[in-house]
Symmetry: C2
Subunit: 214 residues, 2 copies
DNA sequence: AGGTATATAGTCGTCTTCGACTAGTTCATA
DNA sequence: TATGAACTAGTCGAAGACGACTATATACCT
């Protein structure tokens, strides 16, 4: 399973989902994705969109139906989904829901090199992160609540936003505890940690012990 | 802040971190990253590594020190970090720890199109995900415990693995609840949801209501 | 002696992805 | 009525990332 897809950008999934509903041209896809908040969960960039659309067409998952011209605007090509496209959409979607995949986050990369900073600085930075996460999650939660009630949209259509909020809140709780644990010396002796930075800013071991292989 | 870095692949951060310790050649970086488990938190690919190293050299963040040849093996170039490289490493690391950044996950993309499947199938897929997550988190936890005690490595050097495990466990709990909520009709009426799929497999609204903008 | 699996140490070409740019249209406003 | 912002609808070139491939050395097995 999880064999290589010919068009692997998740934006392609969104394109197929939209064309599953009805034929439309790329710019309309952008508009609809924005209206529905899908650009919060699927990275949307014009330049990628047009490449993705070409790739999908090349692979026979969508087809150009007609090109229309509106006044002197550039002409717009209207695409529709094919049978193969419908199948691919469903297969892909099932796979995404069924199979957890490893993601590499920026924060994980940062944490990997935490010993690269002295403990006091690490604590200060993480405390700043806590503040920013508090603000961010607060805003997410209120936007979520107001979106739900204003349009009385079933939660079904907001589930990805709830997921994002959940991840952020989990991170927030974890970082709060992490800060306390660092201060309590529970990650390792603070003096040893500090000593990695003693000689004129040179680290003697940025990555720590030699034989970690988790 | 968070202005564009000239070399933005997180692998570059790892390269600078390693060269902060001492000069070495690219293949040795791979070996060290593997030994220390850094490839779990920073995506490591040979081909990317060599591009990243060239880019860092081009930008003056690292320099080639010497090239040595060992028998008839290809020659290896040994790189060292520059002053600019040290600064860039620290600045970048601070930014990663201080500023939360939005990440787009595969699962979030999948969730966005959840209404594209009938509720019974969605539940089945998510239950399968729960099983896989249980297995995965179980393995992660035992590897983490054994790594800590076998080498009695301070937690400081495992913090990114703890972070990853925390995220997975949070997801697991959330998906379990989600399944129950779907079954209880708390995301929206199951019959309405089903009706999106009634006409010979055609969806009438893959993305749901028209005016969501969370 | 021969075969093969694994570790070493990369190169190359292709496909993807992105940021920057173009260019016409509509609308408010001074 | 000129002017500048915001919206519409993309194109293009360059850089980035990845998979597939190459080639030697060494250890192990039979």
């Amino acid at each position: 399973m999880a064999s290589k897809r010919k068009v692997s950008n998740p934006l392609a999934l969104a394109v197929m989902a939209l064309l599953y509903e009805r034929p439309m041209h790329p710019y309309e896809m952008v508009t609809l994705m924005r209206e529905r908040g899908k650009h919060e969960s699927v990275r949307l960039r014009y330049s990628s969109l047009y490449s993705v659309v070409s790739a999908l067409e090349r692979e026979g998952l969508i087809v150009a139906r007609e090109t229309v011209r509106d006044g002197r605007r550039p002409e717009r090509t209207i695409y529709g989904i094919t049978g193969a496209g419908r199948e691919e959409f469903l297969t892909w979607l099932r796979e995404l829901l069924r199979e957890p995949v490893k993601e590499y986050t920026q924060f994980a990369a940062g944490l990997s090199f935490l010993p690269g900073l002295p403990p006091e600085e690490a604590v200060a930075l993480l405390e700043e992160r806590v503040r920013r996460l508090e603000e961010e999650t607060g805003e997410m939660r209120s936007r979520l609540d107001s979106a739900a009630e204003q349009f009385n949209l079933p939660r079904l259509f907001l589930v990805e936003s709830e997921h994002e909020l959940m991840l952020r809140e989990a991170e927030l709780g974890w970082v709060r505890v992490l800060v306390e644990e660092i201060e309590a010396g529970e990650l390792g002796s603070l003096s040893e940690w500090r000593s990695l930075h003693s000689e004129r800013g040179q680290m003697s071991a940025a990555g720590g012990g030699e034989e970690k292989d988790v």
